[in-house]
Symmetry: C2
Subunit: 118 residues, 2 copies
Amino acid sequence: MNTESVLARLSALADKSRFTILQIMAKGAIGTCCDRIEAYENGCCVADVVAVTGLSQPTVSHHLKTLEKVGLVRKEVRGPWTCYFPNPEAIEELINALRAELYPSGKCDVDIQGGCCS
Amino acid sequence: MNTESVLARLSALADKSRFTILQIMAKGAIGTCCDRIEAYENGCCVADVVAVTGLSQPTVSHHLKTLEKVGLVRKEVRGPWTCYFPNPEAIEELINALRAELYPSGKCDVDIQGGCCS
DNA sequence: CATCGATATCGATGTTTGTGGATATCATAT
DNA sequence: ATATGATATCCACAAACATCGATATCGATG
């Protein structure tokens, strides 16, 4: 995972609305109106998120698109509904990247232009 | 860790400049100009970050303050220098929170107002 | 106490982005 | 084909924020 992707996922997660969407997906908090999503799938359609969050439909569509673009959710059209499903692997990748990039005493792979005295 | 703190840390991490600052701290990429920081401490003073990133001094001070406010770095005044040190525990806490909040099939602790059909 | 180096704060600016109303698109059923 | 429900896109607006020049504050030193 390159730094750009890490930053994109962090930005996607850092918004309250999007974080809430992922939470309710993860917790199975949505009794979906879409008759093509099984409970174990932890998925939801756009209207579900609108109902639970109180956000407008365009806003929800926009957030889901953002989450999909960075790989945090997977999109699947099922009949008239567009269904979204969480992608735990993306979170795991992000966690691994954070550990690799931000934990002290790793080898230096940053371009150093020298300290202020060099 | 409450959701508010998680979002604050994610926002702090999601900025390219701040992420870079944490990277160069973690990797020990700074040959510091401050004579009171030992190499093993992975710390740096403000001027070091200015030199390495090319950002202005006010911008660097602002970013370091942001990082400190959310607990990602620790601040310590040593003589004429203000030194900053990474705090790996904050990242670990964040990782644990992400796993707890966003991994599917946990118990639901989100306030549900019902799906769109309820 | 006066000066100097280091950092923090202030104020302004330009960009990004979250939001929602209006509208278009898409899939399905009749 | 036409209508209807579901979602995506377009557009505009407002709030948040990254950035930096100017200035203030703070610590050390002579």
